[in-house]
């Protein structure tokens, strides 16, 4: 029987043992080390950190290993650990214009202060499987630029000088930034909470929604104003100190979409913004996030809400893959008590139906 009554504990124990065995696989092969995962599967680690909302490469690598490469399971492991950590405070906003840039591209200007920098990208690689990678071949040392830019203005800052693009939204005076891990969401949301939800949202879900806006379901005429990847300092203000404390550096990917906006009776025509920021290197996620952010600003900008990507409650309620996978997969759990109730009802209704039919037959005869 499916529910191994009394055998439940033993069954679970044995299942976990088998899982451990399958995780390790062939014992004659060396076990994969966390450092190997951090170094060689870095983008998997980045995704787990981003959607797990915890910046720790080694823990993310451990999660990837423990989850046998199942990304959502790994994200779940990191989330469940993160939730037990004490909170010391909130850092200052990241100053991405001071990023130590490794990659930076703009689709809107051919050249711009700070220059374009391709960086470690898959773009322009021909997607031909490379048999040499199957062996541990020699890898060349990369070329690096000599001079480092202390300050590289963002494209939107440049556009902002003459009002061609809306100002970066300021939070009203005295408003504390929300924290969706500490307060239950209540719709409608402000943009701060929405961006938090998108930043930890499922890459695939946001990608699909972002794509839908390009195909006309909430079209927003986007241009990739700028995408930059690199390390930024994180700073914490401490009450006793009159200067912010630098805690360290993290790698992030920032995407600023520039979108068309016709203007209103109150505002002259200008471009609008969609914003994406993700832990690690993940252009796909940050671009999807920026497109979704812009689509979700429909209410704020007085646009008609006609498409799924513009529907805040729909998007935010279903973007979290840990929630989604839990509820979809909970259908595996026994439901036989409720099913029994439904069986009973259908049997009764079929009985009544049959009775009626035979009465009708008799009446006809």
């Amino acid at each position: 029987m499916y529910v191994a009554v009394k055998g439940g504990e033993a069954a679970i124990r044995n299942a976990h043992r088998l899982l451990g065995d399958r995780r390790r696989g062939d014992r004659s092969l060396p076990a994969i080390g966390l450092h190997q995962i951090v170094e060689q599967l870095a983008l998997a680690v980045d995704r787990v950190m981003a959607e797990g909302s915890l910046y720790d490469t080694e823990l993310a690598a451990l999660a990837v290993k423990q989850a046998r490469g199942d990304m959502i399971e790994a994200i779940f492991l990191v989330r469940a650990y993160r939730t037990t950590l004490p909170r010391f405070g909130y850092t200052k906003p990241l100053e991405t214009s001071r990023m130590a840039i490794e990659r930076r591209i703009s689709a809107t200007f051919k050249d711009l202060p700070g220059g374009q920098l391709l960086g470690p990208t898959f773009d322009y690689t021909h997607r031909l499987l490379d048999p040499e990678l199957a062996e541990d071949g020699i890898v060349e040392t990369p070329e690096r630029r000599v001079e480092a830019h202390e300050h590289t203005p963002r494209v939107t800052d440049i556009l902002g000088h003459d009002g061609m693009i809306e100002a970066d939204g300021d939070m009203p005076e005295g408003v504390e930034t929300g924290d969706l891990t500490r307060e239950p969401l209540s719709f409608p949301l402000e943009r701060d909470l929405r961006l938090q939800a998108l930043a930890r949202g499922d890459e695939g879900f946001l990608l699909g929604l972002a794509y839908s806006t390009q195909r006309g379901y909430g079209r927003s005429h986007p241009f990739a104003g700028e995408i930059r990847i690199g390390e930024v300092e994180i700073e914490l203000e401490v009450a006793e100190l009159d200067f912010p404390l630098t805690l360290g550096r993290i790698r992030v990917t920032e995407c600023q979409m520039i979108n068309q906006f016709k203007g209103s009776s109150k505002q002259p025509p200008q471009f609008t913004r969609g914003y994406g920021l993700v832990f690690g290197q993940s252009e796909r996620k940050s671009m999807s996030m920026a497109l979704c952010d812009r689509a979700l600003r429909a209410r704020e900008l007085g646009e008609d809400i006609t498409a799924a990507a513009q529907d805040e409650e729909f998007v935010i309620s279903h973007s979290d893959n840990v929630q989604s996978t839990g509820f979809v997969e909970h259908l595996k759990l026994p439901h036989y008590v409720d099913f029994q109730a439904e069986l009973d009802l259908v049997r009764r209704m079929r009985g009544e139906h049959e009775r009626r039919e035979s009465e009708n037959r008799e009446a006809a005869e």
Partner: protein, 300 residues
Amino acid sequence: MTELATYNFAYLDEQTKRMIRRAILKAIAIPGYQVPFASREMPMPYGWGTGGVQVTAAVIGPNDMLKVIDQGADDTTNAVSIRAFFQKVSNVRVTTKTTEATIIQTRHRIPETALQAGQTLVYQVPIPEPLRFLEPRETETRKMHALEEYGLMHVKLYEDIARHGRIATTYAYPVKVEGRYVMDPSPTPKFDNPKMHQSPALQLFGAGREKRIYAIPPYTEVVSLDFEDHPFEIQTFSEPCALCGAKGSYLDEVILDDKGGSMFVCSDTDFCEDRQAEGNGDHLSANPAQAAANPAEAAE
């Protein structure tokens, strides 16, 4: 390597417990109203009882005796898993006896044995909003609760009657609490609804993924929605339990073969075992299928 934390008593940190405890107190003060709370990620998946687990973790202490059931049974895998979790993180005493437990965490059933004053029943809730399948938007359903606008629910039930000649809701059957809030009793069969009414036990409901906690204090009016000409009625079974002979308990159908053969046994395993221990069901003929359907014996 990052140093892994040792986990706190009952897993949750004290700050999280305080947040949940504050929500529980409000929930008790406003019976049937869904209090939003900042549900945490738990080390089991959303949809698998994280709401109930958080409520239990915030309430439980060293003097408690915990019982965990799923589908009425103590030994279903998820019940085993949740009970093992609490044994591990809170080292609390556990039991399968309804009468011994101070806290009972449940999924989909209310025990057959009447609960007592001082006991707390914690329900795992997947979708706390009774109006959700009529109106998917939280912004709308919240307004409907605020205005006590429950017409839609009655329309739905009435459409059932028009189409099927009866109310076709068999589980998660909506109730009205203390004449004010329409509440989802969690996916228990409607058979269990009457047990909620004027129960001496405290009933707490936790929905982790949906981030809601609600409650029914002891001795509170809980009425299943119905119509004068179609009064609420519970399921009845034509035969008694094949193991203990109980009449009037909720039964599971156990398939015996692929030719339509089946038997009906109590869903509440503790209730059934107690009755068998008291000698009930002895007259039932020894049936090899019976032993198979009761692995409690088979395992011994």
